[in-house]
Symmetry: C3
Subunit: 145 residues, 3 copies
């Protein structure tokens, strides 16, 4: 069995941002030489997430970011904001970002068969940053034969 | 290692619908002959999802569909709806469906031991369609020995 | 390939509660002797969930529980509550808890390399109970070599 772990570095551009990482994931899978197994994609941050959704147009990831903001608004009261301010932390208003991260989730798992990850038509892999802009890390695990 | 991939075809019956696919998943796992490993269940669509929840009575999946509709209503403004209308697309009001798909998620992973998937009491596997009725596909990967 | 399955017993303390299970998971992984593969963490209940988020301070899991309560309040109308009451069930107001469980999800998957699970800085593994206090079970699968 091969167990290949790679880190993708992603520079996000704004406070709430998305990146389509589909081609980067496919490239690493191709380079790994692993043909059959699984591919795990993991956000390594507690204020970011990964998801699969339509990548034909940027409207879908933008809707997702805006809907999360409506579901748990940045400007609500979060215990975490109070805690970070009390500690003199910078970038303290991340309470909502942590909630959004757990609502979307930090990992996605893809099947790998004959060297190809199995995505549906129009599906792409997105990294979502709820507390950017920053340099972020996504871990990629390719486990198989 | 065996790497078995199967597609389940699911005919949904209404715009927002659920299907209990537990017995279909168990049947395919049994047929695969794989005894120890993992079972990945993946919705292949960007307006559908898979989840595990109580399958004693239809009240739980119905609550879930109705709650998602309250969380991100179909009738809100979504960039995706405007985009699809602009392109002359049919079935254009799927903005909410894409958000619901990412909130629930497109994959679930189950442990397989001695030929049995390990589910808790009352747990079942549901496919949720947020933009039906359609013929939908769920990918099943059975990876192990 | 090794396929190790362990059950973690978790005693929750209140109706809506969280437990940081990071050190328990790491301990079982270490005891398993498996060095390279995957670690699956699964809630075995339909009114509980597992997630990864910041574990520096209890503010984050508390924000998460409170935000879910705002997103789908316990006191709304759920079909499940009516159904359970009709059947004479106890602990009947769990409609919201089932919704929260599917919003967060029942499984998380972690990469295992050289005996170590790969978590980002500040990341911890949380079990969330939406219908406690009870003794709960989390399944841990360690699959690899």
């Amino acid at each position: 069995m091969k167990n290949i772990i790679r880190i993708l570095n992603i520079q996000t551009r704004s406070e709430r941002d998305f990146s389509d990482i589909t081609s980067k994931v496919k490239e690493e899978v191709s380079k790994s030489g692993v043909k059959d197994g699984i591919v795990l994609v993991r956000s390594m941050h507690t204020t970011a997430a990964v998801t699969i959704n339509e990548n034909v147009h940027e409207s879908v990831p933008k809707d997702l970011l805006e809907s999360l903001e409506k579901i748990s608004p940045t400007q609500s009261n979060y215990r975490h904001n109070t805690y970070v301010r009390f500690c003199g932390g910078v970038g303290s208003d991340t309470g909502a970002a942590h909630v959004h991260a757990s609502l979307i989730g930090s990992d996605i798992l893809l099947p790998l068969e004959k060297g190809e990850i199995k995505l549906g038509t129009l599906e792409g892999i997105f990294f979502l940053d709820f507390s950017g802009p920053r340099e972020r890390k996504v871990l990629l695990q390719i486990f198989g034969e």
